[in-house]
Amino acid sequence: MTFFRSLAAQWAQRYRKMSIQMVLSLSFTAAAAVGILLMGVSFIWRFSAVNEQIVAENSQKILAQANLNLDSYLRRMMRIADTVYYRVIKNTDLAQGSYTEALGLLYEENRDDLVSLSVFDSRGGLVSSVPLAGLKAGADPAESEWFQAASQNMENLHFSTPHVQNIFEDPETPYRWVVSLSHHVELTRDGVTEAGVLLVDMGFSGIEQVCRDVTLGRGGYLYLIDGDGELIYHPRQQLIYAGLLEENNQTAAGYRDGSHNERFQGQSRQVTVKTVGYTGWKLVGVAPADSWDTSVQLPVFGCFLLCFAIFLMAFLNILISARISDPIRRLDQAVKALDRGEAAEIEVGGCYELQHLSRSVRSMVSTMRHLMDDIIRQEEQKRRSELEVLQSQINPHFLYNTLDSVIWMTESGQQQEAIQMVTSLARFFRISLSRGKNIIPLSDELEHARHYMNIQQIRYKNQFGTRIEAREGAEGLYTLKLIVQPILENAIYHGMAGGEDDGLISVTAYREGEDLVIDVEDNGLGMRPETAASLLSGEGEVQTSGSGTGVRNVHQRIRLAFGQSYGLTIFSEPDEGTLVRIRLPALTEGEAARFRQGEE
């Protein structure tokens, strides 16, 4: 189990390192190979089965033909026996004549198939015989198996198994192998009938001619056995007799007619059996399995086909997978180039899904670029705005005028006012810095405004009054720093500078829902609404020197920090005064801390 897990892990690792083309090629090729293999095995199996059936049918046809020939041969022998019996023996009285002449004629007519024709009396005494005239000394035909078979079964003709005929004196061929056909007969001697036995010795050549040239497939053969499995004819009979070869004849004797598969001496073979009528002999056709079996040739052919198919499939798969994966590869390369920060063109190609993917990636890249440009621009604006704010805090005119006022007050003995002014200036700059923090408590911001207004009131000899307050609910909130002072500065320079002594500038901070609102209001000169609107946009109305820059700066800083829904709103009418409303999110201490972290 561990081994398989390890193997699966290795494969998974290799898979992760493979290119999509390699994965496609290997997968398609493997799937094709498995498919072809299954088809091949199925084909071989089916081909073998059909081939085996064809061989069986062919064997049965051949055996049927051989059986016909053998039956015809045996019937001819039986007809000879019948002729001898009914035409010669029945018509001849031994007291008056002999069978020899008639037997001689029959023998001559059929000498190609016959070895001898003989008639014996019931004791085995030779009555007549052609062409062999006499018995061997000591021969006892009555003891022969053929004689006894004929005597015991009087009705039938009896065919023996092959044997050496040993009863006749035969100087030319003393030991012939024959098949004996014996039949009980009734001899007539002096008008009296007596039992006898007719012997027709058939040569081996007749049976051999029927069986010898029959071939069943490559390496197949035919043999003949009797009902007990004893060999009558076999193409390699002498080898079997010599003990050099074995045949499965005893088993074959038990087979019924038809085709059977057997395994003999390690060889698979198909055995077809056909029983020869009357005799009970069996023709046995043997077809070795390799004559139809596809165990060697077809698998070799199959291997060729498989290799060729894999070759072709691999070739096509590589081409197809390259075509499919090439747009993906190019997209991958383009994305990698983008990762490296290089400029890369994303091509749109391949199939529909890939085109869609490429377009999406291209769109995403375009959006990303725009967003990045926006971020860069915003950061730049933010940086510039903050710089401008800081620069405005150290306005040399403001500092010069303040210090000049301090000198003047000191010289004129207004020690207390001088101290107050310097103290306010110090506090003013301390809060301006706020240790570099951008978000500060509202109280600090209002204190910053208060110190600024202290300085300006001294400078302007209290031409206007100031009221700065934070309503309940707004005390603990936080705000962007240095947003009130530029508006106060604008109110002083443009609203109060040329006014009467009853000028009032008020700063009121309060919470409105989730927002913090700081209203900076004056009762100065006011302005037309168009002018007020153009103060924030910086467009339209011609601006006097410096007017509105600080206000716009505050507006932009708030919107950069908190979004477009925040910022300044200016309400003004000529001679009515001006209200500048600062809207911010109401930041608690925790939210202010998180906002600072986000900025960092």
Partner: protein, 303 residues
């Protein structure tokens, strides 16, 4: 494509090569199987081959099955060692792939074989030869011993003559020696002789070669009274056995010997030969000659 190009080309080339090889393999195998007929020369030690009919049938059967052709060569003088050596040289130099020999003198034939520039496999019949590719023959010592045992079953007293009149047949000596040893061990008086005594033949005679058995049986017709135990399965010997002139013979299948000799020669040429086991043999008595197994042994099937 660039990354996978080289391996892909290698794999495709390999597959292509495999496909070509697989296509060619069956053809190559078939050509090798076809091959030419092997030329086998059969050197007899007799002047004619009539006594080797059964062996010849066996040889022809094997030659037919194994893809060989046979050339039969006989001597002008029986057991002429020189002539047989000359024939061996001529056949080997004349292109015979292998030789099957019935040695007139195994040692001389071995020497002749050693002198050949390009010796070919030689398989012997009847007797063994050192350096041969095999011998298709029974264990000659065992033949003599078993034949002596058959005689001992019948022996009722008297001398046993071990007849050695087979000329120069080399297989006779081990048979005779083994028989002599068995008889001596059984306390039976046994003497060697080269001919049957005409005046007073012994009651028991043993011969150790087909020709000697045949001659002794023929000689018995004129000298009644001795029991003959011999070696051989020729038709003449079988006829004498049937007539009762021979009491028992040690017989084996010459057909099997011929078949095995050719098969061994072919296997030697194809470098697949294994040592041949001694041929089985049987002691056949006259009364058992027509037992089914003995019929198959003694009488070759002929149509």
């Amino acid at each position: 494509m660039k990354k996978t190009g080289l391996p892909a080309i290698a794999v495709l080339s390999l597959l292509g090569l495999l496909a070509v090889l697989t296509l060619l393999a069956p053809q190559l195998l078939r050509e090798r199987e076809d091959g030419r007929l092997l030329a086998l020369s059969v050197l007899l030690r007799d002047t004619d081959s009539s006594g080797w009919n059964a062996a010849r049938q066996g040889m022809e059967q094997a030659a037919d099955e194994l893809g060989a052709e046979l050339r039969w060569l006989t001597l002008t003088v029986p057991n002429d060692t020189r002539e047989q050596e000359e024939l061996l040289r001529r056949e080997a130099e004349g292109g015979a792939d292998a030789v099957i020999a019935v040695p007139a003198d195994p040692e001389a034939l071995r020497s002749a074989l050693d002198r050949l520039a390009a010796p070919c496999p030689v398989v012997t019949l009847e007797c063994a030869m050192e350096g041969s590719a095999g011998t298709a023959a029974p264990d000659n010592g065992e033949v003599g011993r078993r034949l002596a045992e058959a005689l001992l079953e019948d022996w009722s007293g008297g001398d046993v003559l071990l007849l050695d009149n087979s000329g120069d047949c080399p297989e006779t000596a081990p048979r005779l020696e083994a028989a002599l040893e068995a008889l001596t061990a059984a306390g039976v008086p046994a003497v060697r002789g080269t001919a049957l005594p005409e005046d007073a033949p012994p009651a028991w005679v043993m011969t150790f070669e087909d020709g000697a058995t045949r001659r002794a049986a023929a000689g018995k017709e004129g000298a009644e009274g001795f029991a003959l135990y011999g070696v051989g399965a020729s038709t003449a010997v079988t006829a004498q056995l049937e007539r009762g002139a021979i009491a028992a013979v040690a017989a084996w299948s010459d057909y099997a010997a011929g078949y095995l000799a050719v098969r061994q020669a072919v296997q030697a040429l194809r470098e697949r030969s294994r040592p041949l086991d001694p041929l089985p043999f049987s002691i056949v008595r006259g009364e058992d000659i027509y037992a089914p197994e003995n019929q198959k042994l003694l009488f070759p099937v002929t149509s």
